[in-house]
Homo-oligomer: 258 residues x 2
């Protein structure tokens, strides 16, 4: 039987709110066995960019990462947030190492093709250096990833944090049983978007398809869940969706299985 | 016989000037055998801090690192400069990994005691995790250090880049023959401060003491050279002082030996 490996993605308010982050970190350090943390940090980058006089360009609600924006992302995700999280883990007596995709060629990506819109320095992960991640886990260290990847040609690229976590989980599935945790603002997949208590405890592809057909799952959740089931198809054993309390015992959440 | 390990420290103008840095990197990748890069980045941090509206406080020409300054240093040294250098090395087909002292508890420091002046978040390296550095070198990766260390309690501290390089070289001397290279604005130790061509090719403690007694070496060079001879006493086999062209074949420089 393969060893269990947990990959946890955090972002949004959880990163920005010091108290929430500290409470999450207390739960995170309690998790037993090998684990990996992946973080974004969107709003902090926008805030720093604004103070530096760089305007964040958005097209259809998506950030355009020009050269200045990429510098800010490298500062904020790759430096400030990443190293602060590593230092917080050290303070809690868990050895960790902060990485962006360039470090150890751990996340090699391809720059997104320019079609109607040029998103700038944005890329999609093409390969994960699992051997390098393994060498870190074997030293009892927690790899902490900022959502930055790097092309073969050494260009740093802004990369979707959820995708980074998924691609790592998929790649590590060869040697581990992988569980992927997405901590966001929502407690999980809801049957009623207005009712926070309507969390669906478990989804498999059968009842997922039924819920889509009956239009109980719609809109924003569709692409996210589509990606989740793709990750499951590609080897991830389970995906858990929840809020900042996701790692607490008896948390309310949605678990996605095959 | 121990294997040779080269530790190269860069800072100042070399970091700030893109063309100079690229030219240096071309020389750096030509260096054979295991090697480590250490960088500072002072003025870029001051520039970013200024744009963010943080005033850099100085007392007697020394920077006071308050909480805001430490955040900027973590962004600029730990993120922007560190990850850009790693990406540059990847572009040149040399695998590298960017580290601050918190990563893998690689540089554990003690916060500087408050005496007359409180320098804030500033520390001195107390221990180097040589086993972790070795594991990186064994994977044929170049460790790239930003001048940030971390206390046992997980507090990130601004740390003198020259000292970081020295402490790493000293610690690695147990298992390697270490050579330390300091690249700065000067070609080496000069007999005449006004004459750039008066570089002393080699210094040992005998001729160093004579040059100090005859007041040929004075002022600013004294503490730097004192630290160099201390590193030599503590196991470093040679220290080379020069400018951005230091790693070129037949460079003009000062070599310090026992």
């Amino acid at each position: 039987m393969k060893q269990l490996l947990k990959i946890i993605k955090i972002g949004g308010k959880l990163i920005e709110n010091e108290a929430l982050l500290n409470s999450f970190m207390d739960d995170f350090v309690q998790l037993e066995g090998p684990k990996i943390l992946v973080h974004g940090g969107g709003n902090k980058a926008t805030e720093v960019a604004g103070k530096l006089g760089f305007k964040t360009k958005m097209i259809d609600g998506r950030r355009i990462t020009d050269k200045n924006s990429m510098e800010v992302i490298t500062m904020v995700y790759g430096g400030l947030l990443n190293k602060s999280i590593v230092a917080k883990l050290q303070a809690k007596k868990q050895n960790a190492i902060g990485l962006c995709g360039a470090d150890g060629q751990v996340l090699i990506s391809r720059r997104r093709e320019v079609k109607e819109i040029n998103y700038g320095f944005v890329g999609d992960v093409e390969s994960v250096n699992t051997e390098f991640i393994d060498s870190i886990l074997e030293q009892n260290m927690i790899p902490v990833f900022s959502a930055i990847s790097c092309t073969k040609e050494g260009i740093l690229l802004n990369t979707n944090g959820d995708s980074v976590a998924s691609e790592i989980a998929i790649a590590m599935s060869r040697d581990y049983e992988t569980q992927l945790f997405f901590c966001s603002e929502k407690k999980g997949v809801l049957t009623d978007i207005e009712d926070e208590n309507s969390v669906i405890p478990e989804l498999n592809s059968d009842n997922y398809n039924k819920l889509v057909q009956s239009k109980i799952i719609t809109d924003g959740m569709l692409p996210k869940l589509h990606n989740c089931f793709e990750a499951i198809e590609r080897g991830v054993s389970a995906i858990v969706l929840g809020d900042a309390k996701l790692l607490k015992k008896n948390s309310i959440h949605t678990k996605i299985v095959k």
